[in-house]
């Protein structure tokens, strides 16, 4: 039982971690929580659905196209919604991101909402969906793909941040936007890139997860909550914290659901988060305060 629960917890936690990375990315750069992150995830999933299921494009190509689509959507959302409000009070930005989430949900519902007679669509697995043995347990190949995909994206983003000029500019902007601006970095462009990157990684997570569940316009909110829990648990603003937090939330849910009761599965992680925050308010990887631009 433990092996099954750990495997499921890690696979689900990897998804939470990917979502959390996108949240942290935007938060670190802009100081804002993107409350439309769940809907960007959902939209990325539907972009992949369009390519994979409707147009018959291969799964992995659909994944790449969804990531590109997510990136473009992130950039568009920055230009259309967030940039005009860049100097607005934080509450305005909260409302803007919440409003944008409803907008995306409405668009998704209009185009994909009743394609299969329900408010959800099935997203076929990338490979044979039958479970396969790994040691003493059975797992879905898609679960392994989620793990592999999460590792690839986390490593990829780490390399991007550490090795590329754009990544370093994003890091510098997140550390100190004013200093970054004075040293010639076009901060607004970095923000745009950040929204795009956050949205792209959400799209990747959606394409990995969709074959395990069904895809619906409302799928994003629950994931946003879990990702938010992961970032708080790991330490708001910490990239390693997002990864560890995501995995911990996934594992705690799984163990709580298995050993205590299924009724606590959804809340077990939040209970632990409350305890952690009482003992360590900044989260496991507590980070410095984000400075305002």
């Amino acid at each position: 039982m433990l092996a099954y629960l750990l495997m499921s917890g890690i696979a689900t936690g990897a998804l939470y971690a990917m979502m959390a990375i996108g949240l942290v990315l935007v938060y670190r750069s802009t100081g804002h929580i993107n409350f439309s992150h769940g809907e960007l995830f959902m939209f990325g999933g539907f972009i992949a659905y369009t390519f994979f299921v409707i147009l018959g494009v291969p799964y992995f190509l659909s994944l790449i196209l969804a990531v590109i689509g997510g990136f473009v959507l992130g950039i568009l959302s920055d230009r259309a919604v967030y940039r005009p409000l860049i100097k607005a009070p934080p509450l305005t930005m909260v409302l803007a991101t919440v409003g944008f989430s409803f907008f995306l949900k409405g668009i998704a519902r209009y185009f994909w909402g009743s394609m299969e007679g329900g408010d959800y669509v099935a997203f076929p697995a990338a490979m044979d969906p039958s479970p396969i043995p790994i040691g003493s347990i059975m797992v879905f190949p898609q679960q392994l793909l989620i793990l592999a995909g999460a590792i690839v994206f986390v490593v990829g983003f780490t390399i991007f941040f550490r090795m590329t000029r754009a990544g370093k500019m994003m890091q510098a902007t997140s550390e100190n936007p004013t200093a970054a601006y004075l040293s010639g970095i076009r901060v607004e462009r970095v923000y745009t890139l950040t929204w795009g990157a956050g949205s792209a990684i959400a799209a990747a997570a959606a394409v990995l997860m969709a074959p395990m569940t069904l895809l619906s316009p409302d799928v994003g909110f629950q994931l946003l909550l879990k990702a938010f829990a992961a970032t708080v648990l790991g330490g708001l603003g910490s990239m390693p914290g997002a990864i560890v937090g995501g995995l911990l939330v996934g594992i705690l849910e799984s163990l709580g659901g298995g050993y205590v009761h299924s009724g606590v599965q959804d809340v077990s992680a939040f209970i632990v988060i409350i305890i952690v925050l009482i003992l360590r308010p900044a989260g496991i990887f507590g980070v410095r305060n984000i400075r305002d631009t």
């Binding site: 917890g9 009743s114 408010d119 059975m138 009724g263 599965q265």
Partner: protein, 392 residues
């Protein structure tokens, strides 16, 4: 002489006019020589729009067929839709608009139970006949209101049918996987009542959220309880994850699904793993799968009339209800009044083209549909396996 003639002609005109007015006052609201105006009350926009529009598309298709064959005693049926957005406050306004502005003869519709319950007092006060199509709250028709009927199974009936079916199949160790949100509770509570009535205790009682990413923990707990049957009360999204994860761990109990997975073919496609739903039997309000040749006529008509629609169970809710209303209007006679309609509907049994049993109303029972049908896969095709007459 001239003045007298003028007086007489004026009086005659006034008399004729007053007779017309009296005649009009005696005619039933929403009924003319040429048409009967019927109102649809339900969700037409927003996330749940399909629960309204699709049902009403089914009703309107039946009306159109009746109109093509000359109407009801020469009158064409006109269907006016008002949106309650699945919200109580909106439903009251929509009901008032139908009754007082559109001046409909009757209301034929009702999707979300909370909205229908909110609209009920206005409909009761105005005594407008109301045939409910999709709302499942039992208090809409019990205790009986003389002019309110339903052609949908009440929420509790599905749960009772699930327990009854488990017992009929000889299952000894029955487990539950249920959502505990508002929708889930409306089925879970009657389910527990039914367990009690049959004198059995569930061996495991697990909770699932509507949007789970994983249900391995639930599957393991039920497997550990050695359940030979599992009753599912969950939306398709949750049920898909639960069924997949039970299959993943190699656990294959007899699964008794609710109406949310009643389209077993579609659900199997959503699960996406060959063999994972072989042991699933699911209850449904309707009597035929959407691709069953027995309902091909209606599928063709609906899809031709509404190019965006793919024929499904919601259309069938509307078709069954529409056939009941058309027959009740016929039986009410040429001199159609609301009282005549209520009387006809209260003493009517109609074998529709799409339900597994007749819609039967009596003066003391306006919960007119009580036949639950069971579906499962036979050689890869969704088939009706049995029917259950549900009683409390």
């Amino acid at each position: 002489m001239k003045a007298r003639r003028h007086f007489l002609s004026t009086m005659s005109a006034a008399l004729i006019a007053s007779m017309c007015v009296v005649g009009a006052a005696n005619a039933e609201v929403g009924v003319t020589d040429k048409e009967i105006k019927i109102g649809a009350l339900g969700v037409l926009t927003g996330p749940l729009a399909k629960y309204g529009n699709t049902v009403y598309d089914g009703i309107e298709t039946v009306y159109e067929e009746a109109n093509k064959s000359g109407g009801i005693h020469g009158r064409q049926l006109v269907y006016v839709r008002e949106d309650d957005r699945c919200q109580a406050a909106e439903a009251v306004g929509a009901a008032k608009k139908l009754i007082h502005q559109h001046k409909v003869f009757m209301i034929h519709g009702g999707a979300c139970s909370n909205a229908s319950l909110a609209a009920k007092p206005e409909i009761v006060a105005t005594k407008v006949p109301w045939v409910i199509t999709a709302s499942t709250a039992p208090s809409l028709t019990y205790p009986v209101t003389p002019h309110i009927f339903t052609t949908m199974l009440a929420g509790w009936m599905e749960s009772y049918a699930q327990v009854q079916y488990a017992v009929e199949k000889g299952m000894k160790r029955v487990a539950i996987i249920a959502q505990h949100d508002n929708w889930g509770r409306s089925r879970y509570d009657p389910l527990m009542e039914a367990f009690k009535l049959h004198g059995i205790e569930p061996v495991a009682n697990e909770e699932i959220v509507p949007d789970p990413a994983d249900a391995t923990a639930i599957a393991l707990r039920i497997q550990a309880a050695k359940a030979d049957a599992v009753i599912l009360i969950a939306f398709p999204k949750a049920a898909v994850v639960a069924v997949r994860d039970m299959y993943k761990i190699g656990y294959k109990p007899f699964m008794i699904g609710g109406s949310t997975v009643g389209d077993v073919g579609l659900f199997t496609k959503n699960v996406g793993i060959p063999g994972a739903t072989d042991n699933l039997h699911a209850v449904s309000t309707i009597g035929y799968a959407a691709d069953d040749p027995a309902v091909a006529k209606w599928k063709k008509l609906v899809e031709a009339k509404y190019s965006g629609d793919t024929f499904n169970i919601y259309h069938m809710f509307g078709i069954a209800s529409g056939q009941f209303v058309v027959e009740a209007l016929r039986r009410a006679g040429k001199d159609l009044t609301r009282d005549a309609f209520n009387k006809a509907a209260s003493n009517l049994s109609v074998n529709t083209d799409v339900y597994g049993g007749p819609i039967t109303c009596t003066p003391t029972n306006h919960q007119c549909h009580n036949t639950a049908a069971w579906f499962g896969l036979v050689n890869g095709t969704t088939k009706r396996l049995a029917t259950t007459i549900v009683t409390r």
